[in-house]
Subunit: 452 residues, 2 copies
């Protein structure tokens, strides 16, 4: 039997992170080099390496017997906890009524894009999950390329929005930002909010990395700056190292009562509610406690140490630039200074660069610029610095906090050898490239191909 698939399904591509991860899982046994016993240095997959907080695990254990369906917007205890969490950490007064729980921020953003009419404005570079959603939903969209500082330029936003005919425009703001690791400060958010107010732009502010902000006092939520027009999304995945639990939430704009009723219908139509035991487990993750507070502090400090090391090692390589991360566990590396050499080596796109990096002897997994909604020929890449044993590193940090620059470097070299070695491979790769070791690279490049 032949099946007919809807056209927009055919047109979208697999989200690149999952495509790459599938590829990497299958890659090891495919390595063509004899006696190669090594998988790869993982700079590609953006997953927090730490254990799920003890309080959350214990709450899941206690609630394993909860087999009944939960209320569509989430159980009241959880919505209350999230409300208090937002007050305590982000200084926002959000009544629990404005909070809806969903099976991950990804699905909640998808649901928002389903119900909100209008044209989407997507600043680039961007997280690799937004574009497949926008395409699948056949929404009108426009890219908003950022400039040298990699942040939305309010005037560019204004110019673009003025050109759009749609009654409603939806800006996807991601703060702190994946893949750059950059943070929008209060003033920058206010300037963006001014444009949004003027031109009736709705904001979906994906703040899943909020809690990872290295200097936490610097984080400001767009929900505070532009409460009447912002949907804030956040969840367990990054700050609580529980991406696999699948629990996120969205805060609705002030006064959007009717919209919440519409949203509830969609959740009820598509998935009923989030897993009940998982909702109960999440409660202590959002409640204020010394233990969670310490967890957030330790994990963000470790991310900061790894980020600083990665940034310094990369930018020490001749010609390589990178964003200096202020949050998340990513930075955006810029290899465009090597464009002539790369082209000489027949590496003409960022996808081909990813392929060249993954093969023996480099074994280094990165997410190329085309997956970050950059031009295919933009030799930028997202470097995630989480390839270490999170449980061990957490304990080590807790036992003895590195204080000086040299202690922090020592902390990385001792505890994150794959990050150190992987960065070494990046240096080696570009060293070989400079030495016109083109033949060797070509040979390697042809031995493997990331599937589309």
């Amino acid at each position: 039997m032949k099946f007919v698939v809807d056209q927009q399904v055919e047109d979208i591509e697999m989200p690149e992170n999952l495509k790459l991860n599938t590829f990497l899982q299958e890659f090891h046994s495919d390595c063509t080099h004899p006696e190669c016993g090594f998988g790869f240095y993982g700079f590609a997959f953006g997953q927090s390496p730490f254990p799920v907080p003890r309080l959350i695990q214990e709450a899941l254990i206690k609630n394993a017997n909860k087999g009944e369906y939960a209320a569509v917007p989430g159980i009241p205890e959880l919505r209350n906890a999230i409300s208090k969490y937002n007050k305590h950490y982000f200084g926002m007064d959000v009544s629990p009524d404005r909070i809806y729980v969903g099976p991950g921020t990804k699905e909640l953003i998808f649901n928002l894009l389903e119900i909100l009419h209008g044209t989407v404005i997507l600043p680039t570079p961007a997280w690799l999950g937004y574009l497949p959603q926008i395409r699948f939903l056949k929404k009108n969209y426009h890219m908003l390329p950022t400039r040298a500082n990699k942040k939305i330029a309010p005037n560019d936003l204004r110019r673009l929005a003025l050109r759009l005919q749609d009654r409603q425009k939806i800006l996807i703001l991601n703060n702190p930002h994946n893949p750059t690791g950059l943070l929008y400060n209060r003033l920058e958010l206010e300037e963006i909010a001014d444009v949004c107010r003027d031109l009736n732009i709705t904001v979906i502010s994906d703040e899943i990395y909020a809690q990872t902000t290295y200097d936490f006092t610097k984080f400001t939520s767009m929900g505070k700056i532009y409460p009447e027009g912002t949907f804030v999304t956040n969840g367990l995945s990054k700050s609580h190292a529980a991406g696999g639990y699948r629990l996120g939430y969205v805060i609705f704009p002030q006064h959007a009562t009717d919209l919440r009723a519409q949203f509830k219908k969609i959740l009820a139509t598509e998935y009923t509610a989030v897993s009940t035991p998982i909702q109960h487990a999440a409660i202590p993750g959002f409640e204020i406690s010394h233990e969670m507070d310490e967890y957030f502090e330790i994990t963000r400090n470790i991310h900061k140490i790894m980020g600083e090391y990665t940034y310094h090692q990369l930018t020490a390589i001749d010609g390589i630039k990178a964003t200096k991360p202020e949050a998340t566990f990513y930075l955006l590396a810029d290899f465009n200074a090597y464009a002539p050499e790369l082209q000489k080596a027949k590496i003409t796109t960022s996808q081909k660069l990813s392929e060249a990096f993954i093969v023996h002897p480099y074994h280094t997994a990165i997410v190329g610029g085309d997956s970050l909604v950059l031009e295919r020929t933009d030799f930028s890449a997202r470097i995630a610095y989480v390839d270490y044993d999170g449980a061990m590193v957490y304990q080590k940090y807790r036992d003895c906090k590195p204080k000086t620059h040299s202690e922090r470097t020592e902390f990385v070299t001792q505890n994150a050898p794959k990050i150190v070695a992987g960065l070494g491979m990046i240096e080696k790769f570009f060293g070989a490239l400079k030495k016109d070791a083109v033949d060797e690279l070509l040979l390697l490049k042809n031995s493997v191909k990331i599937p589309n």
Copy 2:
């Protein structure tokens, strides 16, 4: 700020079961009768009353630490277990590759409707979840009303499909059937499959109640009869009393390899994967064990006892007909013989009948025909017979299995007093209606209204 909502979102209604449940939760305090200390007799919400099986709870407890993202189609151990489960219980050889796990059968059916082009054929009466999905996705659809026996008539299916212009037609088959509790036997499925083969009709066979079939030897999966054209969905929600866990699966048709790749993209785009601890928890629920086998047997036997009692009590009331359930925990009651009296009492639709039943002194919650995709003036209703303490009743049954008809009646009257009393209320309602107690009914009817 005013938000613009997509038109199809405005057009769909809240799935009726969730709407009703929300209403019922809020109803108690609203009861206008002084000194009324009672909520309602719950014939409306279709949730298994039993505890989540011990093996599943224990597996969830053991896997609370699994914070990492799972593979998009499900973890291999779970897909293997589901494959063996289908072999053991349903006699189907399904390779794990053909099995995709999702956050509930509801979302998987939604995802199938998203990717499959074509016109949907929806036999009626139907589960209240399909239509909002079909409408939201703006799919073409046609009802296929069943005849007196409440089952799809193959010739009617053929006639309808011949009229449809679409390249692909999708039949939604629900077997065992919600709301009728009826089971399609092998011959009936073969006749339907013949039409489907002839006219290139794809089948989504929602078999979530398969394991509840009272005489389990009688259940046949459409996946066995029409393997090349059937998507079979099933999950934990009904047979494992874990609707709140949110885990279902779909078996793809034979040879639909490309379609699986398309489907995987959609899952990755919308929700990444099902909660990892929940997936691990589900494994022993699908593995073959004496304990699960006993659980299935006891729970289906209790459903059978409650169903037989409910059927006999209802049909003993003058003029009331009902389907005789062979599976599930529902039957479809037909009150149309009272249409003249109901109309005299200004109860002109099934929605109004539901409202009249819920008020004091009847306090009886049913799902009216309009929510089952029947005509608004069809006085039919779904009666779910699960309003009892599942843990207690399970233990009682296990300790001493009722053998004779009178022991089974005794079992219900002793252990399910709310079912007994609720059925008494239905009898009382129609008794009052017959006695022309129209004024009283009118008065009650106006005191409460289920929100739209």
